[in-house]
Each structure stands twice: as structure tokens, then as C-alpha cells.
Symmetry: D3
Subunit: 134 residues, 6 copies
């Protein structure tokens, strides 16, 4: 069994269940956002109205999951000292969740919008893993 | 705690579904938080272990709904100009959702903790209705 | 439709979680129904097929929430003496939930149908608050 | 309790999704109520606190499903002519859903309470299948 | 397709909640699949774009429930000795859940696809009731 | 922005939404299982009855998510050629989902049981990433 596959950064962590269990991982939001992007690409590539309707149904669900996973990180993982050290963090999360919502990935089927969402999640992920190393 | 804060102003409004439909109302978070408080009181007043377990199951669900309704307001209703005008708004929402979570109403069965949550929601509600009048 | 019907009386109350916590409030059904109406209006005003599909997805969810909140009131809040005093109550709830379902707000994107749903909820709300004063 | 009541008649039918698809079947409520009863029996037979807590968590969910399936039948399947022909139908459903809730199967871990719930569902099932034959 | 396959044998049973309560019944998957089929038929018979979108939304949900109920049977009801006695069982469940998913009932609005799903569920049901008699 | 953080193996992939979007990742099941393990450890370390009840409520939810994510991989990602190449795959998934359920992580608060679940998920993950390289 190759455990290295599960290596993300050095000090493996996570937290997300609000016990809290202490297991958080921005990969949860990122995977759903990748799904949103893939759905957009398949939507654009299809002209079957049934398929396109299904794509919009599913994109709505996946984008909602992105919002949820990000909200959990913002409220449950990040604490006052983090917000002091990273003063942009509130705005970053607010923009990222907006980008997952009606003004972004929910309201648009453009893969480029999903890309902007992924970039925001990557910014959050960078900060997340920095705080883990500290 | 000032209950008048919850008074809905004259011109009733709301918005919350991420179409967006434009119908938002902090009463949704407030009603669930009142439920959390009532559950805490009934929990404290009972010594029936079955009832107390049920109370904790239900409190967990209701507190999660409080978090969800607040997150929706923070991401979907409030816009950049609001955050400029009310610089405390990010912190207020972050603290309110933390107060609904493991460090607050989920982690505690003390009605006084639920009261603090209700007070935070009332602060948010005040700002919400101010922005509606503007 | 008489909006004053939605005015919450002086002594605010509620109950809805089936502990039961004792916190019930018809505002929960009303807010979702207002959302349904706003979605219908935005649906009618748009000719963007993606937006219209999203509107139908969301209207389906919101109308389901209306049904749920009404069912909770009917089963959990109202007791035998209420049904004796208000013999129309069963029919009222049955019609209101039908109006939220396939034969009403789910099956139609006409804001006028949503208005009829709101009027039914207002009738229920009036009775609810009367029983609270008693 | 007469188990034959649950026998599905010759011409199998159903309807329940609020399209509506026209497929309704009281078996959905009955199966969940049987689960509630079995959970009660296992709860009573155990003295393991972890198992008993799990039993209460699960009973809460299953009883909620009973309520939901019954509400769907009451609102979506039964129409005005049925309520005229079976004047007891409103009360029957109201009592059945109350029996699934806090005052019944949710609030009690007594298998006898679950039996009363099953009996009510059987009464509903009888009427349901009568209307199908008509 | 042999509808008699769905006849529930004399001694009614079930189990499905992962306590486990011991109450399982393939009827849960079958009822949802019948709903999927009825939705397909209504979809094909309609040319109202709003209705057709609603049909696809609902079909997606019902097909997901089919998958869920089948997964529960496969993991929670069937044990190692069953898989030895019925070596085709893994493949049967894998094919049935695929038939409920994107490559089957979710991806298609053809009632014939839903019929194939119902036939697979009937095969599973036959084996299920055989193991109950044993 | 450090994109390498998101690198899992070389050819990044996933699929899980049943459009299908083609984005699957065993990390989803693994993260929830890590949560289950952390919850078990915190449960064992605590003697606060409220905390322990909350831990069981949350463990039940997280273990259910493990089952769901694994079922999705088994039905939606893996295809007939995979099952031919890895004849143990059906049994592996069946055992893994059983280990997440009542006979494993749901039924036990022993971190060692959660470890066995994590080991099974790692086996599945190894095969998953092998098929991605092929």
C-alpha cells in the first residue's frame, strides 16, 4: 500500500465536521470546483438539450458544495490570529464564495469563470497550508 | 438583549436562494437560534437520558441551520459597499457562525450561550435592515 | 392580498423542531413562498435559457420548503382543540400545500399562482397568531 | 394489527415525486415505520450506551421519513373527492404524523408506540388501495 | 418483464437503516424506479419546456434514490455467504446502479431504459427474497 | 499561487457528479474517514457525556459520507475492464463500505477500526491511481 499517495504537504491535517475533529482540507472545495469546471466544458461541447439541462442541475449542486466547504474553512478552521496575520482572508473567502454563487459559477456555464473560482481556492489553499506549517 | 431589534421594518423584504431571488431575511437564522435556545432550556430541565440525547441531536441540526442562513447572508446579500460601510461586518459574521458552531451553541447546552448567539444575530439584523432602508 | 396579515404580533414566539422546542413561525413558509414568487417574476422577465433553467431548479426547491414548513405547522403545532375551533384548518393546509406543489407553484412559473400561495399562507398565519394570543 | 392490510393489491401502482409521476405507495411509510419498530426493539434489548445513542439518532431519521412519506400521500395523492368520501382522512393523517413525531415514535423508544404508528399507516393503506380500485 | 417478481413473499421483512434495524426491502428501489419510468413517459408525452425541465430535475433525484437504495442492499443486507452462493451478485448490483446513473436512467429520458432498470431490480429482488426464505 | 500544492499524482483527475463530469478522487472518502478516526480519538479521550453524544452523531454522518463516496467510485468510475483486471475490486469495495457501516466505523468508536477503514480506502486509492496512469 502506497501511503505516499495520500501525502499532501508534510504535516498532514484536516478537520471539518464541527465536533470539531480537526480534519480540514481545501481539497474538498477544490475537487467540487474542478467538477464545476468539467461540467461547464461538457455543457459547452454539447447541443443536446436534455444533457445541458442535466449539466445545469448538477453544476448548481456542485457549486453549492464549493460554497459549503469554503464556509466551513472560514468559520471553523480559521481563528482570530489567522485573520490578523492575513488581513485579506475575509475578503478572499467572501469573493471566493460569491464566485461559486449566482454571480459566478452558478450563474455562468463559462469554464473561464470556474477557472477564476479555482484560482481563488488555490489562494485560500496556499494560506491554509502555510498556517499548518507554522 | 433587545428584542425590538428583531422587529421587521415597514417595507418587508428578503432574498436567499442564490438565483438570486433577492428575498433575504435574518429572521430565518433568528428562528433557528430561538429553537436552539429552547432546546437548551428543555435539555437542562430534563433528566430523561432519551430526551436529552434527542435534544442534542436536534440542537446540532438547528445550529447548523443557523450557520447556513448566516453564511448565505454574508456571501449572497452583503456586497462590497456594505463591507466598506460596516467594517466590522466580516468579524461579526465570523463570530456569529463560530458561536453557532462547536465553540458555541453546538458544543454547549447552556441557554446563555444561545442568548449570546441571538444577540449576535440581532446585531446582524440591525445592519441588514439599515441597508434595506438606505 | 393583505400584507398586514404577516405582521408578527407583539409577543414573538415560534417552535418547529419536533423535540419539540415549541418555536413555530409561519414566517418560515412565507419567506420561501416570497422567494418562489420572486423567482417566477425573474423567470418571466428573462429569455436566457440557462437562467430560466436555474430558476426552475430553484423554484422546485423553494416550493418544497414551503410544503415542509406548512406540514410541520399542521402536524406539530396544531392540536385537536385547534382543529375543533377552526374546522376549515385541515382543508386550508391541504390546499396550501397543494398550491405549493405540482398543481401550483411547482407546476407553474406564473407569479399570480405564487400570490395565491402567499394568500393561503397568510390565512394560516392569521389563525396561528390567533391561537398564540388565546 | 392486521398484516394483511399491507398486502399490495393485484394491479400494482404508486406515484410520489410531485411531477407528479403518479406513483404513490404507502409501503414507503410502512417500511420506515417497521424500521422504527425494529430500532426500538434493539434499543430495549441493549445496554450498550453507544449502541443506544446510535439507535436514537437513527430512529429520529426514520420517523422523520415516515412523516414525510405520509405528508406526500396526504397532499399529493389524495384529492377533494377522497376527502369527501373518507371524512376521517384528515384526522387520520394528522394523528399518524403526530404518532411518528415527538409525541409518538420520535419521543418514545417503546416498540408498542411504533406498533400504534404501524396500525395507523395500515388504516391509511387500506383507504389508499380502496381508492385505487375505484 | 415479470411483474410477479415484485410480489412480496408471505413473511414480510426488511432492514435498511445501518443500525442495522434488519428491515430491508427492494421495494424501495423498485418504487423509485417506477417513478423514473413514469417521469420518462410524461416527459415524452409533453412538449411544454417548463414541464420537461421539471421532469429532468425530478428524474435526477429519483434515479439517485434508486442508486442509494440498491447500494444499501449490496453493502448492508448481503453478506459473504450470499456472494458465494450468487456469484453474479456483485456484477448485478454494479450494472443496476450504473443503469440508474448517467449511462442509464439519469442520462436518458427513454422509458425503455427505465424498463431495463426495473428488470435488473426485479432480478435483485428475486435473489433477495430467496435468501429470506432460506 | 503555488499550484503544485494541488498536485496529487501526475495525471490529475477525478469525476463524481454523475453527469458525469469525470472528476473522481478517493481523497473524498479518505478525508471523511480521517475525520471518523479523529472523532473516535476525541471520543475516547473525553468523559463529557454531551461531547460523547455529539461525537457519535457526527461520526454517524461522516461514516455515511465515506460509504457514499466509495459507492460513487465503485459504480460511476470503475468500468467492466477494471473489474476484469482487478478481480478483487468488488469484494474490496463491499468490505470497505461494510467497514464504514454498522459492522465497522458506525458501530464502533475504536480508532483502530477507523484505521482498518483507512487502510481499505488506501488499497482502493492505489488501484484507482493505477488505472489513471494506464
Amino acid at each position: 500500500m502506497n501511503l505516499r499517495r495520500f501525502r499532501t504537504p508534510r504535516t498532514v491535517v484536516s478537520a471539518h465536521c464541527d465536533l470539531p475533529c480537526g480534519v480540514y482540507d481545501p481539497a474538498q472545495a477544490r475537487i467540487e470546483a474542478e467538477s464545476v469546471k468539467a461540467v461547464c466544458e461538457k455543457y459547452q461541447a454539447s447541443d443536446d438539450p436534455e444533457f445541458r439541462t442535466r449539466a445545469l442541475i448538477i453544476k448548481e449542486q456542485r457549486a453549492e458544495l464549493v460554497k459549503h466547504h469554503l464556509w466551513v474553512l472560514w468559520t471553523d478552521y480559521f481563528k482570530a490570529p489567522h485573520f490578523e496575520k492575513y488581513p485579506q482572508l475575509h475578503t478572499l473567502f467572501n469573493e471566493a464564495t460569491k464566485l461559486a454563487g449566482a454571480g459566478g459559477a452558478k450563474g455562468s456555464a463559462d469554464p473561464e469563470v470556474a477557472d477564476r473560482l479555482l484560482a481563488k481556492i488555490a489562494e485560500i489553499s496556499d494560506i491554509f497550508w502555510e498556517t499548518k506549517k507554522a
